[in-house]
């Protein structure tokens, strides 16, 4: 499904990503974790083809991202909690726009199903500016899943969401993955997201993968009771060199 080999990215004097190998199989749900500045967002942006790696290659659904970005992007959906909705459009118009960008001539039945999945059908006629941040996040996820991608990439999908909305997001994602066999690659700082949704975690520190496996295996390998313990341990070890670093250039 997703095969990233030897990804390297330098921003000026900082190496944001340093030789990341990441494979996500069909239907697999993977969390990409790590402290701020570990290289998560840069890795995701390279996987999405928005940032080009200095070294390495990404293949999605068999398409080489460097040469067949558009074909590869048809297999992928992406949403991030921090991204706004397109302004001056109603929710249905917005979803219709993105459905058509994914090559769906009449996205309306898929829009209805997507809104229903996250129990927000009543928002179809609302303007993007009328929505709360939680509602915007949900609409963003509906947009990302409209074309039933084989790989769903989510950056902080539950950031700033109320617990009940976050739970609805987790439920909707699991439903999608089970029903459609969608693979999931997500970042999150909320370990309850990770434990409930993902079957595999990949920890990054200083741009390198330092742990990869099922959550309980990774936690025990670090001698911690849970993923939060591993996260804190890595964050502490990240501090001296990484405190001044950022994922962003």
């Amino acid at each position: 499904m997703l095969e990233a080999r030897g990804l390297v990215k330098d921003y000026r004097r900082d190496r944001a990503v340093d030789g990341v190998d990441l494979v996500v199989h069909a239907g697999e749900r993977v969390a990409l974790l790590g402290p701020n500045g570990a290289g998560k967002t840069t890795t995701l942006l390279m996987v999405l083809g928005v940032v080009s790696p200095d070294a390495g290659a990404v293949t999605i659904c068999g398409f080489d991202l460097a040469h067949q970005r558009s074909r590869a992007a048809e297999c992928v959906g992406f949403a991030a909690g921090y991204l706004p909705l397109t302004e001056r459009m109603r929710v249905r118009e917005y979803l219709r726009l993105y459905g058509q960008l994914y090559g769906i001539a009449d996205p309306n039945p898929l829009i209805d199903a997507g809104l229903e999945r996250f129990r927000i059908a009543d928002l179809a006629g609302a303007m993007g500016t009328e929505l709360s941040s939680g509602q915007r996040t949900l609409i963003g996820i509906v947009r990302a899943t409209l074309h039933r991608p084989r790989l769903l990439v989510l950056d902080e999908p539950t950031a700033s969401l109320d617990p009940d909305v976050a739970q609805r997001v987790r439920g909707g994602l699991l439903d999608l993955c089970h029903r459609d066999g969608t693979a999931l690659l997500m970042t999150s700082h909320d370990m309850s997201d990770v434990v409930q949704v993902c079957e595999r975690v990949v920890f990054l520190s200083h741009g390198r993968i330092v742990a990869d496996g099922p959550p309980e295996t990774v936690a025990s390998a670090y001698g911690r009771g849970d993923l939060a313990g591993v996260f804190l341990h890595l964050a502490e070890s990240h501090e001296p060199a990484g405190a001044q670093q950022s994922d962003h250039p």
């Binding site: 990215k9 921003y11 069909a26 967002t41 840069t42 942006l45 999405l48 083809g49 928005v50 940032v51 080009s52 659904c61 558009s70 074909r71 992007a73 048809e74 297999c75 992928v76 992406f78 991030a80 921090y82 991204l83 706004p84 397109t86 302004e87 001056r88 459009m89 118009e93 219709r96 726009l97 993105y98 058509q100 960008l101 994914y102 090559g103 769906i104 001539a105 009449d106 996205p107 039945p109 898929l110 199903a113 074309h147 039933r148 991608p149 084989r150 029903r179 459609d180 066999g181 969608t182 994922d247 962003h248 250039p249």
Partner: protein, 282 residues
């Protein structure tokens, strides 16, 4: 699910590549139509400002024309025809440049860049919508010139067609240049979207032969395809028919300009991806 174009987990759907491209271009054009319709102040670009320009230059033309001399009558025609045709470049350039700027202002660039939308499809979409704005803006000017100053732009004949086509290409070329600069330097470069037009306007001899320019500026003016297009326009205003020599130079120049601008935009897009400038808009 009733939709048959997407099956669970299928990824790419069965539409042909060309049909998908056309669908995406129309989607982008529609997206910008919503922006125009739902932002009344933007309608000024295609209604009020063109009308103000035609009133300003039309009044100047009427004033100059009152002297009754032959050169004055000519200058009067140059002013009105010049401003109407100038808006072909202006509208096509501004529509495309602000298309990309709108994505940066609203932090929508990442949303678009992760979709299968190709760069050329995006440009096609904004150009398509730009044509609608062009028709609206220039239409207002043509009607204004006719209503207020009895200047019938259509009386210039079919010779206008190649001139409009050349000016359209130049407008697109400038917008690609501006887009490249915005990708490279961020929204700080947006002032160029408007500013570059004010450099081009006097140098292109929109209202006068470039012989009227300071001699130092004349070689620069002659290097611009717009100068030759407006020289060809004055030939029509003077009832001398189409000046094919000037039109040929303008056509070759505008295509060369378009090619260079495309090369520049592609290079800037490569830099944008390489340096991770997307994080400016997230």
């Amino acid at each position: 699910m009733t939709d048959t174009t997407v099956t669970p987990g299928s990824g790419p759907n069965p539409m042909t590549g060309r049909a998908k491209s056309w669908l995406r271009m129309r989607a982008i054009a529609r997206r910008h139509a919503y922006v125009l319709v739902r932002s009344p102040h933007r309608l000024f670009d295609v209604s009020l400002w063109p009308l103000v320009d035609v009133l300003l230059f039309g009044s100047l033309a009427a004033f100059v024309g009152t002297s009754g001399s032959t050169p004055a009558a000519k200058a009067s025609g140059y002013l009105l025809a010049g401003i109407v045709l100038w808006h072909v470049i202006y509208q096509s350039q501004i529509a495309m440049s602000t298309g990309l700027l709108e994505e940066t202002w609203t932090r929508n660039l990442l949303n678009l860049m992760v979709t299968p939308l190709r760069e050329v499809e995006y440009l096609g979409g904004v150009a398509l919508f730009g044509m609608v704005k062009l028709v609206m803006g220039v239409g207002v000017m043509v009607l204004g010139a006719l209503a207020f100053f009895s200047f019938d732009t259509w009386s210039l004949g079919y010779g206008l067609v190649p001139i409009v086509a050349i000016l359209l290409v130049v407008g697109w070329a400038i917008s690609l240049l501006v887009m490249g600069l915005v990708l490279r330097f961020g929204t700080g470069a947006e002032a160029l979207a408007w500013g570059v037009m004010f450099v081009l306007l006097p140098l292109s001899g929109v209202f006068y032969p470039t012989k009227a320019l300071p001699s130092l500026m004349q070689p620069l003016a002659l290097a611009l395809p717009t100068t030759h297009a407006f020289t060809a326009l004055r030939s029509l205003v003077d009832h001398r028919g189409s000046d094919w020599t000037q039109l040929s130079i303008a056509a070759v120049g505008s295509l060369a300009m378009l090619g260079l601008s495309m090369w520049f935009l592609v290079a800037m897009l490569r830099t944008f991806r390489k340096r991770g400038y997307i994080t400016r808009y997230t």
